[in-house]
Symmetry: C2
């Protein structure tokens, strides 16, 4: 595997391939998510879905194919998405009367139905989420990070007031996305508002969480949009308010995608491969039988059952016809948090060898009470990985006063923080040099809304 320091993008691709996470698909920019990669995505889905439901949203499903004319109803939206569309022109052997686009996102089709479903203030808030695939034609694809087709969840809501829409949009940002990133993926993020230049096509304000990857670049990990009344006016989503007036609804939309698998790889990986935080790892502990031996096999099975009984996701590796070293490297590359190796000699001494993926030092541990110790160790590993990511972000975030200093300061990667007032007129020229304003925050680190303007701090970085 390529070393990170040598060529980070190549290291990334090597990890994706070697850990059997994904392959490239035949249509440009598409990907095949292999079972191990998909198991990570399933864990992400479960954790996110629980948080989305706790925020009151219900899942539903809207069609993949959207009449082309729908996209045109919101001017900024169609302008933003037109260059990326995949268009179905033929169906059932015939040229279609109206071409259909494969959804790049579902605001337009969902809002046609919101207009039907919303009549009265009693129908609000309407809180919908959808797990789906979307297609955006990618000219410079990179697996998980930027693919022509990706999997995601997209939330779409309608509210009676601007204030409710705004606070729901921020609730999703913090309670769903930031919480999930930090407490499950062990990735601290910078939460803030996008500049007008980086805003979603059709939104009044876009909120974002930005993570710092191992090479110091930023990755946009999730966005939540305040749509104002832009779509409700375009699609006629009106409701009768408590005092009988007819009003346009206030809306939000928000999403995270399989890009988060990329965040996990680049946020925690090292030169030996993936390092998975236990809460997201499909396999938390692998119990390896070193050599074929009935007693060892027995002990391994017993330990596996004990761990499973404690709620640990454990996998037994008794492929003794495959070389031990090769198997050990496989679990290392796959980032399994804890590896327990059991051989005849260990057994005779009542011990096992334990390897923490976050440290790589091998230790001998007694077999008695081992399952409980391993369960507790998983909690510790989770917080160690978060601490490491926190430290990196702290060490590689620089206060910068002048835009002209950004390039030198970030020559080795990292985030530059500077007053928004100092950089706002230079945003485009910075972007031309490869540095973008990832988001704006208040001086206290708070997330500013569209109407908060004075004293903002910009976080600037190269980004994926």
């Amino acid at each position: 595997m390529t070393a990170q320091a040598e060529d980070f993008p190549r290291w990334y691709q090597d990890v994706v391939t070697t850990a059997t996470l994904a392959d490239n698909g035949p249509v440009r920019g598409t990907m095949v998510i292999r079972p191990y990669g998909y198991a990570i995505w399933e864990r992400m889905q479960a954790e996110l879905d629980a948080r989305i439901k706790a925020a009151g949203a219900a899942n539903a499903y809207f069609p993949l194919l959207i009449p082309e004319s729908y996209l045109r109803r919101e001017a900024q939206h169609v302008e933003g998405f037109s260059p990326e569309l995949a268009v179905v022109t033929h169906g059932g052997g015939k040229l279609l009367e109206e071409p259909a686009v494969v959804r790049p996102t579902s605001e337009t089709i969902i809002n046609v139905f919101f207009a039907k479903w919303v009549q009265s203030h009693r129908d609000l808030p309407l809180l919908i989420n959808q797990w789906a695939n979307v297609v955006r034609w990618e000219l410079r694809p990179r697996v998980f990070l930027r693919t022509t087709e990706f999997l995601w969840q997209e939330g779409h809501t309608a509210h009676a007031t601007a204030g409710e829409a705004q606070s729901y949009s921020l609730q999703i940002l913090h309670d769903v996305y930031e919480d999930f990133a930090r407490n499950v993926l062990a990735l601290p993020v910078v939460a803030g508002r996008k500049t007008d230049r980086e805003r979603f096509a059709g939104a009044d304000a876009t909120y974002t969480i930005e993570g710092m990857m191992g090479d110091g670049k930023a990755l946009q990990m999730g966005t939540s949009h305040e749509l104002g009344q832009n779509f409700s006016r375009a699609f006629g989503i009106t409701f009768q308010s408590r005092d009988g007036a007819n009003e346009f609804a206030w809306q939000t939309s928000w999403g995270v995608s399989t890009r988060l698998v990329g965040a996990l790889i680049m946020g925690h990986g090292d030169d030996a491969g993936l390092r998975l935080p236990p809460l997201i790892a499909p396999i938390q502990v692998v119990v390896m039988v070193v050599r074929a031996d009935p007693e060892v096999q027995d002990q391994a099975t017993r330990l596996g059952s004990e761990l499973a009984g404690l709620g640990v996701r454990v996998h037994g590796d008794d492929r003794t016809d495959v070389g031990f070293g090769r198997r050990a490297v496989e679990w290392e590359v796959k980032g399994v948090p804890v590896r327990i190796e059991l051989g005849p000699r260990d057994l005779a001494e009542g011990v096992a060898t334990l390897v923490r993926r976050d440290r790589e030092a091998k230790v001998q541990v007694g077999l008695s009470g081992l399952a409980e110790r391993v369960r507790d160790l998983l909690v510790e590993i989770q917080s160690t990985l978060l601490d490491e990511a926190e430290r990196r972000r702290r060490d590689r975030t620089f206060e910068v006063g002048d835009p002209s200093d950004v390039a030198a300061t970030l020559s080795e990667g990292g985030f530059a923080r500077m007053p928004w007032d100092a950089i706002r007129d230079h945003e485009a020229e910075m972007a031309a040099m490869g540095f973008t304003v990832r988001c704006l925050q208040g001086i206290d680190g708070s997330v500013p809304t569209a109407s908060t303007e004075p004293d903002l701090v910009a976080t600037v970085a190269r980004a994926y």
Copy 2:
């Protein structure tokens, strides 16, 4: 709502609309699955996914867009699917060099990757499942039953021998599909083999489960295919066997879809709407506050918590600003298995009113120990619904000796069983009259494989 006896298809559409299960989408034949309908599908997914994983298959995800040329590699397959394809001709604003089809099923694209992944007998069996959307252009769409886009799972496997592929294909049919239909959906099915005429395009044998709907028609609820070496030869899936020879793999594929929501509606529904078996019901018990009253509200909350504590999916309805009758009808239409009504008078007497959706008789029940009783009642309702469906199938299955008697025997719906030898030469002419051979079984009810020929029994019916 239309009565079943008056117009069954209209009744079906009324239930779909009134129970807020789905709407028609804008592109012909597509549908919007609304939150209540989607919650049913989510329950189905969870139950099926657990069974699929127990059968050893792992989930993965393959691209939506398939190069058109892939479809052409297996002759029968392309012939079967060509008339139904949606074709993407433009991507990113440009005409594509090669058009891409939106997957109608994924054998072709998955097998391109199986060919890469399978090298040795050690790589077998390869057991993959995918939860995905597929598109087949429908000329006569009907919501859930036959839609241009639908959601499904599709399993794809490769094995070292014909025997292993066959037994895995049957394992899925029985342990996943038949078990799920019977023990979760409370729908008994006829499991058998399709005739050559009804076989999947590209399969050597197609196994099926067929349910009897409320109007006596058959619904194909799931299929499992033995693909032989048809695709492995077309896509070059070869492996080195134990004795060093290079061999083509033996394959299966299998799927069930959102059509199962249609099965649930038509398999158990009555003139008042849906009737959901408790194991699949998103809401198993609704606790209704009859009139606004703090003590009643209190008691309702307490009962709700107790039920939730017992693992019951309970929903509290305290919308006392909406008429009670209207709310009661809503839960009835939505098929919630148990309704508990709590009013101030009830509370004074220490009772509640309990309504079973499978019976509709209201009974007064004591509040003490109610949660436990309701939990047990759910088990009873589950088996009552299965018994009813069993009885219908028994009462409406007829033994017929001669094909010319089928039309008269099935004038009111139902299944006709007859010797395959008697009907095999009349299959096409029966089909022209609207009667198809749903499947073939052995005389003992067993599922015959492709090589079992003598003494087969055909089940003939009108079908959706």
